[in-house]
Amino acid sequence: MERILRVEDLNVTYGESTRALRKVNFDLFQGEIVGIVGESGSGKSTLGLAIASLLALNKKVKFSGKVNVNGVDILNASEEQLYRIRGTGIFVIFQDPFQSLDPLVSIEDHLSEAYAISSDRNNVKVNPEQIRKAVITALKKVNFTNPEVILKKYPHELSGGQNQRIMIAMAILEKPKLLVADEPTTALDVTTQAQVLTLLKKIVKEEDMSLLFITHDLAVASMLCDRIIVLYDGLIQEIGSVKETISDPLHPYTKGLINSIPNESKKEGRLKFIKGMYIHNEVIDGCPFYPRCDSRKDECIKGIPSLIETRGRKVRCIIYGVEYERSDTTAK
């Protein structure tokens, strides 16, 4: 299988002291849907921005490590290289559907521009009629029954779900190798959420894209993804296939997340939750989950546990072996 994305030793800090990501390593392969799950402050959105090459827009950000998308070293690429890979190489669907489209540009112009860019990259000459045809086809693929009407509209005239479908149509027109979706359904109501998720999954498979799906909602991730990466305080805590992770979570944090999903079949009467609260930048020498963990031991705070392989999966917890990260890479 072809590797689309490789993240190596990625560290990101905001300003002088605020750390967002620590030593993040993972791969994503062609056709795969990988979910990044974490609560707010876990660094999941920063990870999305880093992969989407948008980190440098914020001047206060410092980063090290490598992000390789399709053979391009994103963090060290020139502006020209980045321009070539954006759109047709990577594309991002953002969280707020009402803010992610230019309010002064009609839906038709938004989509036509996307198709024009991708045909230009592929050195295909297209006339306005062909563009219009492609745009209408894309709109039909994202379940608009009246594409001609939708084309004339402006973003504020559409609902949140419709705007997100426009974003997906944009992805269809550009056919990026890697699609990053940063909480694309969080702002939508539950029914619309399910529709958009189903559609997203269908399109990714049909158009042969790969998807990195960022969410705080483990239940949503389990519906959609092939693999799941659990992030806590900027550290990957667990990586595994959806099936194994849901049925047999390794990390105490993942267990907590799964227990707090409301589930009819578990007739326990009371919703479980993880005790305590995540406090950003609370200085802990060791496992960041230690203050909230049910099975904590003294070994947990002797250093940051390593991400170790066990039963063919990866987990960062001393229960599965007492091993620590070298302090120099994570001290930041």
């Binding site: 489209l101 230019d102 309010p103």
Partner: protein, 341 residues
């Protein structure tokens, strides 16, 4: 045109008309109630008792206040501002001669200001907190803080006395006769009479006032464009455009600038007010006979009818420009166009 935009324009028009009526009442209160002796100031300082009696009768100043107001409103809406005791001409005729001259200067200065302002504002925003941004900010701080007469003196010294490129003042070479009044637009009159000598002299003499007016006003546009660009650049759709693979220059100068223009449209009437005030003193420095000349002459010579007529017409212009920019605003922003805001 959707019904949304029609309704929007109608409400703005009603609001503008109410403001015009307010302006009439405000000037009435000033001239008929606040003025210690209305007949005296209408007639001018050197008027005789019989002249004052005539003025009192003509302006109905001995009648009850509501009758005075009635005649006042009728007069203003027929653009009958009375006779100028100083120029010995109807005020409306004077305004028709002098106001267009200033409007031409202001229109050109406004156009250049908006272009320079938008460009420099976008330029500064893209380089936020870097050297280029600093230069632009210092430039608009200085031009904003300098009284218009000093700006005029500076350019007069630089281009006229020092470099000798441009004449230091006047509407045109004083040895040339101003072409007869056919239309209110002076250069058009010169063209009608084929007076090319006057036309070219007029153009050359108008350059310095336009430069000075541009210099005092572009900072308003620069400042608002810069801050609105900085806000816009943070929005998600800018990131979407970047991720689509749109060229960075297009994202900045098309998507971001267009979205930043909406607040710029709203300061255009402010820009106009500012330029009117600036032209009063700038024309004084350049001895340019436009509206500034008319108003300052009226001021120095106790010519009250001319003064009131002038400020009423100026207020009308501001209200009209406000209305026009509101309409333009609606056409630029689809959210208003659809009647949603």
């Amino acid at each position: 045109m959707s019904s949304g935009i029609a309704r929007y324009i109608a409400t703005r028009a009603v609001a503008s008309i109410i403001t015009v009526l307010g302006a009439v009442i405000l000037t009435f209160v000033l001239t008929h109630l606040l003025a210690p002796n209305p007949a005296h100031i209408w007639a001018g300082p050197h008027a005789s008792a019989s002249e004052i009696a005539a003025i009192t009768k003509e302006y109905h100043l001995n009648q009850p206040i509501q009758i005075q107001l009635y005649y006042y409103i009728i007069d203003l809406f027929t653009f009958n501002f009375g006779m100028s005791p100083f120029f010995k001409q109807p005020v409306s005729q004077l305004i028709l001669v002098y106001y267009p001259r200033t409007l031409i200067l202001i229109a050109i200065a406004m156009f250049i200001s908006i272009i320079i302002g938008i460009y420099s504002g976008a330029f500064a925003a893209v380089r936020q907190d870097k050297f280029g941004d600093g230069i632009v900010r210092v430039a608009y701080l200085l031009t904003w803080s300098t009284p218009p007469f000093l700006v005029a003196l500076f350019f007069q010294y630089l281009f006229s006395y020092y470099a000798g490129w441009l004449p230091s003042g006047q509407l045109a070479d004083p040895s040339l006769k101003v072409p007869p009044f056919v239309t209110p637009i002076l250069p058009l009159n010169a063209i009608i009479f084929g007076d090319w000598g006057f036309l070219s002299s007029y153009i050359v003499h108008s350059i310095l006032p336009v430069i000075a007016l541009t210099a005092i006003s572009f900072g308003i546009i620069t400042r608002i464009t810069r801050s609105s660009m900085l806000e816009t650049m943070k929005l998600d759709f800018i990131r979407t455009q970047i991720m689509k693979g749109t060229k960075m220059s297009k994202v900045v100068y098309s998507n971001a600038v267009k979205n930043s223009l909406i607040p710029v449209v709203t300061v255009i009437s402010l820009l106009f007010s500012f330029l009117i005030v600036g032209s009063l003193v700038i024309e004084e420095v350049f001895s340019y006979t436009g509206m500034g000349y008319l108003v300052t002459q009226a001021l120095y010579n106790y010519d009250y009818p001319t003064l009131i007529g002038s400020i009423f017409v100026i207020a009308l212009s501001v209200i009209l420009i406000n209305f026009v920019t509101d309409v333009v605003y609606a056409f630029i922003d689809p959210r208003i166009r659809m009647g949603e805001r």
